[in-house]
Symmetry: D3
Subunit: 231 residues, 6 copies
């Protein structure tokens, strides 16, 4: 099985981290194919998200032509998921959808910890669309730029941990979802530090796509996700 992990921003280091996180959890016979977008260096808000789409969709189309089995869009804002599903025959998932649906199976309620405050309403809107607002206690921000997660000594990981501890104390949540692809390598440490399930979108999205493909399931092609019309 071949799964595309496509990072819609243009920071190759984040792609590498996501590919590594995915490869670490899939079965030995599953190949993770990485791809990097041509848009902004990080996705912080609606504009960045929009500008990432053509590069993202080009990678999806290329992978589809090469016979990919399933696709992970490695960004927590779930950019262009509907468009990717129109291009793909196999299943497609973004990090937010994968992570919050997993969280909803492992706890009665969860909070999300993301990077910047401006991403909070984006994520709240996604969760409302996924129907899980009643299980989401709160979407929080650790007030760090996305790229600080890539810098040694930025103190970013400690800020994420402290925000998780506040979430447990104030929100009475039972699990925490990490609201940024760039946090994938912190999951184990954060879970150990905080004592609750900490859910990283990259890991869980890769496993869910592997599961859907393994169950023989494909994206429906009869209406909302049918192949784009020829013009």
């Amino acid at each position: 099985m071949k799964i595309l992990v496509v990072n819609p921003n243009s920071t190759a280091a984040m792609t590498d981290k996501a590919v590594a996180a995915a490869q670490a959890v899939v079965h030995s016979d599953t190949v993770i194919v990485g791809a990097t977008g041509t848009g902004p260096a990080s996705i912080e808000g609606h504009y960045d998200e929009a500008m990432s789409l053509p590069g993202l969709l080009a990678e999806v189309a290329k992978a589809e032509a090469a016979g990919i089995d399933g696709i992970v869009v490695a960004c927590f804002d779930d950019p262009g998921i509907g468009a990717c599903r129109e291009l793909a025959s196999g299943p497609v998932i973004g990090l937010c959808e994968a992570a919050v649906k997993a969280a909803s199976m492992l706890s009665t309620s969860f909070s999300v910890v993301t990077t910047l405050p401006r991403s909070i309403p984006v994520i709240e809107h996604l969760i409302h669309g996924y129907g899980l607002s009643h299980q989401c206690r709160r979407v929080r921000s650790a007030a760090i730029p996305v790229l600080a997660l890539e810098e040694e000594g930025s103190g970013a990981r400690e800020k994420v941990r402290d925000e998780i501890l506040r979430a447990i104390e104030e929100d009475h949540c039972e699990a925490v979802v990490l609201g940024c692809a760039g946090m994938a390598d912190l999951t184990e440490w954060l879970s150990a530090e905080t004592g609750i399930p900490v859910i990283d979108g990259v890991t869980v999205a890769a496993k869910m796509i592997e599961a859907l493909v393994g169950a023989g399931l494909k994206t429906s092609k009869i209406s909302g996700y049918s192949t784009p019309n020829k013009k």
Copy 2:
């Protein structure tokens, strides 16, 4: 006051029709500035929508730099509204949001009539996000491609009228929203033929933007729609 009416698809004839529809209803001292995207010739589904965004956002940025007061995104799928709001200082609205919110003020329930079946779930998702599912009886399709609305003798207008009549009969709706920018010139005829308020997004969006600008209101810049971060 200057209002941008930007058609995110690349069919200039649709831009002209939208500009004309907007100009016909705004005050004599309001200038409608038209702009056309560089994406697909029509927006039929998620992929087309995604591919229209860079062209749309370029027009918005250009207009913003030139001092526009408010912006109508002239497509019923409300593409890139969040991203446009990040770029704009004034108010921004898409056709679906404008039209369904207007419909919710004029009737206790409404139905939407769009072009192709594949647009139905896109519109349902938008209406769910706008919180108006409980007032929307049904989203229907007249089963016509968007561009048929531009062709003489395609029978498209009669199909739209017949679908509205079915909506009245079957959905017991009190108003109908036209679910495509390309139907703007049919509004008056459709209302006369069917006897209920028929709401065209272009017209109502232009008037709502004129109203918000006239009330001195601007897009909030403190979180979700703050200016895109420099990278």
Copy 3:
């Protein structure tokens, strides 16, 4: 175009303030017609609201007979809107509906600041009905009686400002809606003091009615808002 701004309470000073606020924002060729109810001196809760209705509806019927084009009910509790819509041929809107729908177009989330705590559940119920609970962070009260807004030296305006500042700090809202018609003259000052969009219902309702009338739209007459049955 002639728009009725009808204040359902019997305090003429509040009518004057509302008429002035509306006249200040509409086009020069739009005439604002003021009218004052015969009910309680202020509307603070369900009982006051109910007792204001016959006077309100009499004014609406009179204006309708005289050929009014659209109607603003100048109270934030949106009293009798459905009944007014049955009497009116043109569009009718209350302050809460106009303001929260405007807020939903200018921000991803907003809070409301009203006068007395007893109005909080009334407004929450309205917002639930309008489908915007998911965008409303919180309905707050500045703990001032409605008529204190009319008194020099009551400290009311400072209390409203301080409550808005608390809303920004605690609710992380991006805009604030003023939850009382009597706050209309404070809007500009409050926005300057707090740095976020502050939305006054009177202003925005007048502009929205002007927009709907200008778009050629009328209240649907085929079911929920049909003309009252003769007995």
Copy 4:
């Protein structure tokens, strides 16, 4: 225990019918006190409802002064319930709230059969406010004026029965709520004819008020339903 059954319309025959229906089900030591409004002869829509309120509230105030224990507002549109609760110390309920909450305890889903189509959106809005839309299959109308229920030979009762049979067939509902106070005397016959629980608001409202009073419960007076402010 004394319970007020107040009919907000001015048709004394409907009051008599409601009082009789209530008296037939309460305990022998519960006194039903009837009262009739001064508004329209029947309540068919928002305007009639609004015009019924002053008369209704006058009766409630009078009964409260005389020491009533609980109050049934005998109309299915639940007019002025919030206002009545502000005046009352004991519990207050309208027919719709009582009947749909009872239906939600006796079945997994129900439909409502009312008189005129114009009442459908009024009732749908109430049920949305009560949070029971997910258990309400459909609100239907038998297309009869309210007062036809009072006329011999109008065929009204057969029309109601036929609509209930259609509700069972088409909606797969498990119970039916009668959406008009004037249907109270048909309940037993309709249940026998259709084989499912048919729930009349008058009966169930009287019993629920008797239950709440008997449990020692009163209307909360600390915020939303606090006594009207003196002006």
Copy 5:
């Protein structure tokens, strides 16, 4: 009329308290029949709830065979209500459904105070299912084990009172629902100490069942609650 009050846990003292609370409020001609389950000594979470069901259902079946008129399941987690309704011909209710629906008639918003934190999500899930999340400010725990309510000198009643006072202060709720059958004997004292309606599920459930039976209503038998299929 005979009403079964069945305590699904195996602590007979709690049954006695519930029977006494019910008997104290029903009419003199209503007989309360008590029954005790065979499951865990208290119901604290999903597992305890599940393990209580066979014993609970055996008591219900026995009572049904003996001709019971209605049934109260005397536990706030509403265990096995659907199953009991399949067995019963008369109405069946659990404490949570009865109490929150009563609270929704007496106040615009309420909070719940239960025993242990682990019961909070169970109750939140129930309230979501009953459609009353929008009226429930918060579900709180007094952090006491269920059986502490049965022990002299445990300080449990003071903890419950203090939590109610915090709910009034922090949640701005207008009424409080007691989230455990074992609190039934504290209601009067708590209401006196806190000044707001304090609603005990046992009392209100017994009265509601008495009301539904008295109104001639029975559980619908045509689909969701039809008699269990013979195997």
Copy 6:
């Protein structure tokens, strides 16, 4: 990895079918351990579900003691999931939750086809709890008893196919979820006959548990699903 597939009813043939369906899709190094309950022969409604729980939980406890990694409860009514999660350290899922969450990732809307009409409200209630009502077009029944699926020549599989075809035609759904564990062996044939994704709960639940375990995730133990309290 070892996954328990526990059939809560007592029909061993259904366990065998579920184990086979699960084993067919998991990786070669994943061991499926089957277990059969001691309750009713099939689960048709709330009573059967309740009576299946002690046997189900005994199997879960046994497997947990023996070191199981994850658990599938192989019934579409998702019986006792919360209780199982309290007993388990690893992830636990029921068929309905797994299948509808998968369907929500593969289509914009889906319908469910179950066996008997009495199961429809059970499933609707589950889907409401999972927050996916807005993506579920309709829950339908093929009007066949569960055990007919085990009988040669019962015509059951054709009835299921015909109901799926009606769902496509009438509901405009894009995928169908099979609402009974006993349909697991029909999936491939039904998908071929109908041309849309047909989603079987057993298969997808086994793959999702394999995915969650593979991602290193466990059930949260800090509140709602904490280990049952010792009594």
